[in-house]
């Protein structure tokens, strides 16, 4: 499979703290990857650097062979990078349908579709994720799990090539979590999207979802490989139990 | 949240009270068959609300009294007045001056037009010193209150907004304050000026200096950067150069400046013979105070508008001593029917009568015992000039009255009144020069109106 994204030696410091200390990894076309690691290991910072919200202090990010390190978020989105937020950020006073339609309008098809098609795409996706019942409800009035689903729907509507999910199933009942994982898999198969999901502790998702797992600790990638292998590695377990390296 | 609903309730309650007040008053107007003529001084009027308006036919030219022996009719004179906002001070004085003049005319038999006697009534609304309020007020006065003759609002900006509306309905407007010369060069047919134009404010002061101290040479002009004061300053500069003075300093300060030290500092070294300038009340007082504070010695300091106010001395104390100011009118003037100049005809109250009537109106409006400022005199003179012109034209048609004004030359408590037929500019009335001499305002120029010798050079 062709390589979709390559992160090379990315460093990011906030004042004294080094959030990312020379991270390198690559994602193949259509691959399902999970990035795991305890809180504060730099997972969300890595997302923000790939998505362009944060500029790295060093290192390079290459997407489909093109160096996008300096590009602002809206240019990266146009190339096909979409993300969800750990804490959902819907537009509260706009309806669920409008929220998703805005995703479609400003996603990778930016400038090529009008408001009408965007609203139609929104209806389609709300059908898939099972939120069409609440289409006309103001996003602010949804429950937290529903908001997380809305985040996912909005990201999918952006027709991305790379979908980055930040703790998308955290706080959900097992039944809902499984349903979301199935939806993501179906989306991946249907649109050949590669999906990267950040997971902190819901190990069920890792085993059921991921084809490859990357483990991060204190801003560095310490292990990479298929889920069964990585999860059994004593080094990874010690990291999770809070032991030092 | 309790707070939010409480506020909503209060907000709606206030609006309901407002509307109830309007309808309650509307109801009151129907039953009361108002007998006798309305008391002009109280400025009470028949109120109409929008809802009622559509059935009522447009007001006839004069309100005919339907009740007993209706031979006395009322002629309504209207005015948009600045009773709030930045011209509030001038607006209040103009209102009281106008009401005093109306009261005098009505007490002296009103005016007679082709055999019929008319009592005057003065109808006004607050334009909030805001040009955008003026158009709707002028229109309301003309179309609903049946007004054909108006006092113009204060300042050029507001007058310019009112003029097209007045001209469209053919109503005559008399400008009694704050309008600069440019307004009268715009070719309005129905706009006439009562007070001396802004560009000639300092003529008498400069004439006085020339007369009492021919050696005086250098003049410094420090003025407030706004449309009225700049016109005065530029006029004064031209006139000073014409008289042979040398204008060594010509600088302005922003409209709401609170500290003039930077612009006054250079005068310490220049040591000009004459310093003139200023703008309105606040900055005029500041100018006088800081000239004194910085120890700037000049033979004469002349400041616009502010010194004409009684509490100028109260606020500044000895810093006000010897300050000279141009004024349209001062209570101490000695114009009287006996001193009427050649070709002029006396009309209106004597100076004492005007002050008496003014004080009555002021007391009635709860302003206490105060003397009229020249803004009050400007408005009163406008009413008198208008009333005489209507009688002269013997017609209530504004065109005839405007025509009659061309060859009207009145001498009043306010001095000479004569307009230039072409532009409507005031060419008869001259400025007088007042000076603060040990705590009292006295007139020092022109000689024929003077109460005391000018205190020159300034202590």
């Amino acid at each position: 499979m062709a390589e979709l994204l390559r992160v090379e030696g990315v460093v990011k410091r906030f004042g004294g703290i080094t959030a990312l200390d020379g991270v390198s990894l690559s994602i193949e076309q259509g691959e399902l990857m999970a990035i795991i690691g305890p809180n504060g290991s730099g997972k969300t910072t890595l997302f923000n650097v790939i998505n362009g919200v944060l500029k790295p202090d060093a290192g390079k990010i290459v997407f489909e062979g093109r160096d996008i390190t300096g590009l602002p978020p809206y240019k990266r989105v146009a190339l096909g990078i979409a993300r969800t937020f750990q804490i959902p950020k819907p537009w509260p006073n706009l309806t669920v349908r409008e929220n998703v339609a805005i995703g479609a309008l400003f996603g990778s098809m930016q400038g090529r579709i009008g408001a009408r098609e965007a609203l139609e795409i929104a209806d389609e996706i709300l059908e898939i994720v099972g939120l069409s019942g609440k289409a006309e409800v103001e996003a602010g009035k949804l429950t937290v799990p529903e908001k997380k689903v809305l985040e996912l729907a909005r990201a999918i509507a952006m027709r991305p090539k790379l979908l980055m999910l930040d703790e998308v199933v955290a706080g959900m009942s097992p039944k809902d979590a499984d349903r979301i994982v199935d939806v993501v898999k179906k989306i991946r198969d249907e649109y050949n999207i590669s999906v990267v999901s950040l997971v902190e502790h819901v190990m069920r998702v890792v085993t059921k979802f991921a084809e490859r797992v990357v483990v991060m600790h204190q801003g560095r990638v310490i292990r990479e490989g298929p889920p069964e292998e990585v999860l059994r590695d004593p080094l990874v377990q010690r990291v999770y139990l809070g032991g030092a390296l | 949240m309790a707070g939010k609903n409480l506020y909503l309730g209060v907000g709606i309650l206030i609006i309901i009270i407002l509307l109830a007040g309007v309808f309650m008053m509307q109801g009151g107007e129907e039953q009361a068959t108002q007998t006798g003529e309305t008391t002009p001084a109280a400025g009470q009027t028949q109120e109409q609300t929008q809802a009622q308006e559509t059935q009522q036919e447009a007001k006839t030219e004069t309100q005919t009294e339907a009740q007993a022996g209706g031979e006395v009719e009322t002629l309504v004179i209207g005015a948009p007045l600045s009773l709030s906002g930045k011209y509030a001070k001038e607006g209040e004085m103009s209102l009281m001056g106008a009401l005093a003049a109306v009261k005098w005319i009505n007490d002296n038999g009103g005016i007679t037009v082709n055999g019929k006697k008319y009592m005057l009534e003065f109808k006004y609304y607050d334009d909030e010193s805001n040009p955008d309020r003026v158009t709707s007020i002028v229109e309301r006065l003309i179309t609903q209150d049946g007004v054909k003759f108006l006092l113009a609002p204060y300042s050029s900006g507001l007058t310019a907004k009112a003029a097209p509306v007045a001209e469209r309905y053919g109503a005559l407007m008399l400008s009694h304050g704050g309008a600069s010369d440019k307004i009268f060069q715009q070719g309005y047919d129905y706009l006439v000026q009562i007070l001396t134009p802004a560009s000639r404010y300092f003529t008498s002061v400069l004439d006085m200096v020339k007369a009492i101290d021919p050696q005086a040479k250098t003049v410094a002009i420090v003025y407030k950067e706004n449309e009225f004061s700049r016109t005065v300053a530029e006029g004064a500069k031209a006139y000073a150069e014409k008289l042979g003075f040398e204008v060594v300093y010509f600088q302005s300060y922003p409209a709401d400046a609170q500290d003039l030290t930077p612009v006054l500092q250079p005068l310490k070294d220049l040591q000009p013979d004459v310093i003139i300038g200023g703008g309105h009340f606040a900055d005029g007082q500041l100018l006088a105070r800081q000239i004194n504070e910085l120890g700037i010695k000049a033979k004469l300091v002349g400041i616009l508008v502010a010194p004409a106010l009684p509490d100028f001395y109260k606020n500044l104390g000895e810093a006000a001593e010897g300050i000279v100011y141009p004024s349209q009118w001062e209570p101490g003037v000695t114009f009287s029917p006996e001193t009427t100049p050649q070709g002029y005809e006396w009309y209106g109250p004597t100076v004492e009568e005007f002050i008496k009537y003014f004080k009555e109106v002021a007391k009635e409006r709860g302003k206490g015992d105060i003397m009229p400022s020249y803004h009050a005199a400007d408005a009163a003179a406008a009413i008198l000039f208008l009333a005489k012109a209507i009688e002269q034209a013997n017609s209530l048609n504004p065109d005839d009255v405007r025509q009659a004004m061309n060859d009207l030359a009145l001498f009043t408590f306010y001095g000479k009144l004569k307009i230039d037929p072409e532009t409507g500019l005031q060419i008869g009335h001259d400025m007088i020069v007042g000076q603060w001499q040990n705590g009292k305002k006295v007139i020092v120029w022109p000689k024929e109106a003077a109460q005391a010798e000018p205190l020159y050079p300034k202590p």
């Binding site: - | 949240m1 707070g3 939010k4 506020y7 709030s84 930045k86 509030a88 001070k89 209040e92 950067e225 600088q251 302005s252 300060y253 922003p254 709401d256 400046a257 609170q258 500290d259 003039l260 030290t261 930077p262 612009v263 500092q265 250079p266 070294d269 009340f281 606040a282 900055d283 007082q285 500041l286 105070r289 504070e293 910085l294 120890g295 502010a306 106010l309 509490d311 606020n315 500044l316 104390g317 810093a319």
Partner: protein, 295 residues
């Protein structure tokens, strides 16, 4: 050639008026620092302070420096009144609502004062003669006004940096949630900070009245709101010591840019200085939006 005497004079006067600008802006910055609210009615509160001094001096003969105590009390009263009546409901409201609400408060104060005091411009004379500073003769009352400003700043500094209340206020400024978690009654701190901010603002009105002694009228405050914004942003919205220093810089800037413009023909220097002051604001906002003294 720029005449040295003029420059020195402008330096001295720039410093004096700058100190007054400083104390007049401290209250504005404090309210923004704690409550993240820009008080558009700021100038109206300054006007109230000026009237307190005017009335106490002209009617009761109270010497102006003493009237500051009265205006501080009036400030705390007004601060608490408007906090619990209006600001309390708007703490988390969008900018639009708080800007408009404080504007309405300013209009209300101005019109009430005008209804009682009338629209005319008043003044008083408190003449202590002049003294020499660097060869420039300055009214003693102006120097005292500047000294009182520094004293008032000192008092506020003590409250903020030496008392438990001050600690709580600074905690709320750093991180509202953090303070809440530690058990700080944030609403009470908001009320007190707003009252303190208004107290300093009204007191600075008295100091200003002492400095100018004329031009006191209901609408005198508006120019101080505008200048206050420029200085507050220059300092960095929220920083209290910064506001004082920025005020001095602004005072000096205003006077010195006037001297610089003197030599240009056909323009009105003092008026243009006002325009350059706002240009300065834009430049600072572009180069360092967080202001000169903010981290």
């Amino acid at each position: 050639m720029v005449d040295v005497g003029l420059v020195v004079a402008n330096l001295v006067y720039g410093l004096l008026i700058g100190i007054i600008y400083g104390i007049a802006t401290v209250g504005l910055n404090m309210i923004f620092g704690v409550l993240k609210i820009v008080n558009v009615g700021h100038g109206a509160f300054i006007m109230v302070g000026a009237y307190v001094t005017l009335l106490l001096f002209t009617l009761a003969g109270v010497t102006p420096p003493l009237t500051i105590v009265a205006s501080m009390a009036v400030g705390i009263g007004l601060g608490l009144l408007f906090y619990y009546l209006v600001i309390k409901y708007l703490v988390d409201a969008p900018e639009l609502a708080t800007l408009l609400a404080t504007f309405a408060i300013g209009v209300l104060l101005q019109e009430i004062v005008k209804a009682f005091m009338g629209a005319d411009s008043r003044g008083f004379t408190w003449n202590l003669g002049n003294i020499e500073i660097a060869g420039v003769s300055v009214a003693l009352s102006k120097v005292i006004a500047a000294i009182l400003s520094i004293a008032l700043l000192g008092f506020l500094y003590l409250v903020i940096y030496r008392t438990k209340l001050g600690l709580a206020i600074r905690a709320v400024v750093q991180d509202k949630e953090g303070a809440m978690v530690v058990g700080v009654d944030v609403d009470r701190i908001y009320a007190i900070s707003f009252a303190l901010g208004i107290m300093v603002t009204v007191a600075s009105g008295s100091i200003l009245a002492m400095y100018l002694q004329s031009g006191i009228h209901p609408y005198m405050g508006e120019i101080y709101t505008l200048k206050g914004f420029v200085i507050a942003v220059m300092a960095g919205l929220g920083s209290i010591p910064g506001a004082f220093i920025a005020g001095i810089l602004f005072g000096l800037f205003e006077n010195l840019s006037y001297v610089a413009l003197q030599s240009i023909e056909g323009i009105q220097p003092l008026v243009l200085t006002r325009s350059i002051a706002f240009l300065l604001l834009l430049i600072i906002l572009l180069v360092k939006p967080s202001g000169l003294f903010q981290r």
